[in-house]
C-alpha cells in the first residue's frame, strides 16, 4: 500500500515536472529570438515577434518582459505614443514592485524624450509620494533633472543634480549652461535705456550700432521738428519712425538673446546625445 502510494506520488511529480518544464519551450525560443532581434537593433521585427508570442500565448511568463521590450522597441523607433501604450501594458501585467517601478520610469523617460515634461513631472511626483519607492528618490530625481533639461530649465536641472551629487558631469554641465545663458529680460531692459545695448550684450555688435544709429537719427528729427515748431511733423516722425525703430530694437534684443540661448542649449543637448556616457532618457 505504501509502495503504491509512493509510486503514484513519484509519477505525479514526474508528470508535473515534465509538463511545467517543457510546456513553454517553443514560446521560450520565440521570446529569446525576439530578444536577440532587439539586441541586434532590429526593432521592427522585435515588435512583430513579441506580438506574435503574446497573440498565441497571452498568459505566458514573459508577458511583462514582452510588453516592456515592445515598448523599448517602439521608443527606439521614436514611436513614443506606442511605446507609452506598451509600457503601460507592462505596468498592468507587472508581478513585482520593481516591475511596476521600472515600467513607470520607462513611461517617464519617454515623456521626457517627447518633451511632455509636465506629464513626466506629475508621474515623478506620484512615484516620489509612493512609499514603496522611498529608496528610489535619487533615481527619481535623476530623471527629474533630465526633465528640467528637456524643459530648457538648466538652473533647476543643476540644483536637482547637485542634490544627488554636486561633482557629477551632469551637475557641472547644467550649471555651466545656466551660467552661459543670456538673460532675456536683462537684454530687453538695457535696450529700453540705450537702444542697441541689448544686441551688443548678446554679441550682435553691428545690429546694436545700427539700431542705436536709427534711433538717434529719428530722435534727432523728432526733436528738431518740435524745435522748428512743426508739431505735426514731430508727432508723425516720433510715432511712425522713431517708435517703430525703438520697438524694433527691443524686439531684436529679445530675439537675439533667445536665439543665442537656443544655440547654447542645443550645443549642450548635442553633447548629451552623442558624448555623454551616462544613463539618458
Amino acid at each position: 500500500m505504501v509502495f503504491a502510494m509512493k509510486t503514484n506520488y513519484i509519477i505525479f511529480l514526474i508528470i508535473f515536472f515534465e509538463s511545467t518544464s517543457f510546456a513553454q519551450n517553443s514560446f521560450d525560443e520565440q521570446f529569446n529570438y525576439a530578444v536577440r532581434l532587439y539586441e541586434s537593433e532590429n526593432y521592427f521585427d522585435t515588435v512583430t515577434e513579441l506580438k506574435r508570442l503574446l497573440f498565441f500565448n497571452s498568459n505566458n511568463e514573459y508577458i511583462y518582459r514582452a510588453y516592456e521590450t515592445i515598448g523599448k522597441s517602439y521608443k527606439q523607433g521614436t514611436k513614443f505614443s506606442d511605446a507609452i501604450r506598451y509600457f503601460t501594458l507592462a505596468e498592468i501585467n507587472a508581478k513585482s514592485v520593481d516591475e511596476i517601478y521600472n515600467s513607470r520610469i520607462e513611461i517617464i523617460r519617454v515623456n521626457i524624450l517627447r518633451r511632455t515634461t509636465g506629464r513626466a513631472f506629475k508621474l515623478m511626483d506620484s512615484l516620489e509620494a509612493d512609499i514603496r519607492f522611498y529608496d528610489k528618490i535619487d533615481e527619481i530625481n535623476y530623471w527629474r533633472g533630465w526633465a528640467f533639461i528637456f524643459a530648457d530649465d538648466w538652473e533647476n536641472a543643476a540644483v536637482i543634480f547637485a542634490g544627488i551629487d554636486s561633482t557629477t558631469e551632469l551637475t557641472v554641465l547644467a550649471k555651466k549652461v545656466d551660467d552661459d545663458l543670456y538673460s532675456v529680460s536683462f537684454a530687453k531692459t538695457i535696450s529700453y535705456i540705450i537702444p542697441g545695448a541689448g544686441q551688443i550684450y548678446t554679441g550682435e555688435y553691428i545690429s546694436g550700432l545700427l539700431s542705436l544709429g536709427w534711433n538717434v537719427l529719428w530722435g534727432y528729427l523728432t526733436i528738431k521738428s518740435f524745435i522748428d515748431e512743426r508739431i505735426f511733423d514731430g508727432i508723425i516722425i516720433a510715432n511712425f519712425l522713431w517708435l517703430r525703430f525703438y520697438r524694433g530694437n527691443l524686439q531684436n534684443a529679445e530675439k537675439f538673446a533667445m536665439e543665442k540661448n537656443l544655440i547654447i542649449s542645443n550645443k549642450a543637448m548635442n553633447y548629451l546625445q552623442f558624448e555623454f556616457n551616462g544613463l539618458k532618457p
Partner: protein, 289 residues
C-alpha cells in the same frame, strides 16, 4: 503490471504534451494567417501586410491579396497598394471593390488623370454594383483640375438626392470661383492707394494704406513748401515706400485671397470625400472582433 501501465500512459502523455507545446509552429500558414488577421484588426497594417505576404507562396487567394492591398493603401504605400489591387484576379468577389479602391488610391496620390484614365479603361464599360460609385469619383476628379467641367446635369447624374445640393455648390464654385484679379488690385492701388486691398477683401488694411500714404505725401509736400528740404526728402522717401508697398501689398493680397479660396475649396472637397470614405464600402473584415 499496474506500474508498467501507468508508466506507459505517462510516457504517452508527456510525449504528446511535448509535441503540442515544444513544437508549436509559429510559421505554419494557419498561424501566420491568424496572426496577420489579428494585426490587421489591431490596425498594425504594415506588419499585417508583411505577414499576409508570407502566405502568398503557399495560400494565395483574392481575400489575401485584397487585404494586403488595403493595408498598403491605409499606411500610404500607394505603389504597393496599386500593385496588389491590380493583381486581384478577374473572377473574384473583390475585383470590383479593388477597382474602386484603385480609384481611391489614385485620389490619395492626387493623380486625378490616373483616376479618369483608370475609370475610362476599366469601369466605364462594366455595369456592376460599384459603377455608380466609380462614376461619382470620376466626376469629382474634375473639381480638382483645371480641365473643362462636364455639363452640370451630366456631373450631378450619379449623385443621390441628399448629395446633390452640396455637390452642386462645389460645381458652381468651381465653374465661377470667387477669385480676385491681382492685376486689377495693383492698378486700383496705383490710382487710389489702398483701394486694391479693399477690392481683395482687406478693408481695414486698405483704409490704413490710404491714410498713411496720403498723410506722408502731404507732410513731404508741406515740408518742401516750408523750405525744410531734408525733412521733405525724408518724408517723400517714406511716402514713396508706403505707396510702392501698398501696390505690392494689394497684388499680394489678391494672390493670398485666391490661394485661400483654392485651399478652402480643395479642403472642402477632401473632407467631403473622406466623410464618404471615397464611396468605398466597409468590408467587415474585423466585425467579429
Amino acid at each position: 503490471m499496474k506500474i508498467t501501465e501507468l508508466l506507459f500512459f505517462f510516457m504517452l502523455f508527456t510525449s504528446v504534451n511535448h509535441a503540442q507545446t515544444k513544437d508549436f509552429d509559429f510559421s505554419s500558414p494557419i498561424n501566420i494567417k491568424k496572426f496577420a488577421d489579428f494585426l490587421f484588426c489591431d490596425r498594425d497594417y504594415l506588419r499585417a501586410a508583411l505577414e499576409y505576404e508570407r502566405l502568398i507562396s503557399s495560400d494565395v487567394n483574392d481575400t489575401l491579396l485584397f487585404k494586403i492591398a488595403l493595408s498598403y493603401s491605409i499606411i500610404g504605400d500607394y505603389p504597393f497598394a496599386i500593385k496588389y489591387f491590380g493583381n486581384i484576379p478577374s473572377p473574384s468577389s473583390y475585383v470590383n471593390a479593388a477597382k474602386l479602391e484603385l480609384i481611391k488610391t489614385y485620389y490619395l496620390m492626387n493623380d486625378y488623370y490616373g483616376v479618369r484614365s483608370f475609370y475610362n479603361d476599366t469601369l466605364i464599360e462594366e455595369i456592376n454594383k460599384y459603377q455608380l460609385e466609380g462614376n461619382k469619383l470620376f466626376n469629382f476628379s474634375y473639381l480638382f483640375t483645371k480641365d473643362e467641367l462636364p455639363s452640370k446635369e451630366e456631373f450631378l447624374f450619379p449623385f443621390n438626392l441628399s448629395e446633390k445640393n452640396e455637390v452642386s455648390e462645389y460645381y458652381d464654385w468651381k465653374q465661377d470661383p470667387p477669385y480676385k484679379s491681382s492685376t486689377i488690385a495693383g492698378i486700383m492701388s496705383a490710382l487710389i492707394p489702398g483701394s486694391g486691398k479693399i477690392y481683395a477683401g482687406e478693408i481695414g488694411d486698405g483704409i490704413v494704406a490710404f491714410i498713411t500714404t496720403t498723410v506722408f505725401s502731404f507732410i513731404a509736400y508741406d515740408n518742401f513748401k516750408a523750405g525744410h528740404n531734408t525733412r521733405g526728402w525724408v518724408w517723400a522717401g517714406v511716402a514713396a515706400l508706403f505707396y510702392a508697398g501698398n501696390i505690392y501689398g494689394s497684388v499680394a493680397a489678391a494672390q493670398v485671397h485666391n490661394a485661400k479660396i483654392t485651399f478652402e475649396f480643395n479642403d472642402g472637397l477632401n473632407v467631403f470625400l473622406q466623410k464618404n470614405n471615397y464611396y468605398t464600402p466597409a468590408y467587415g473584415f474585423c466585425d467579429e472582433n
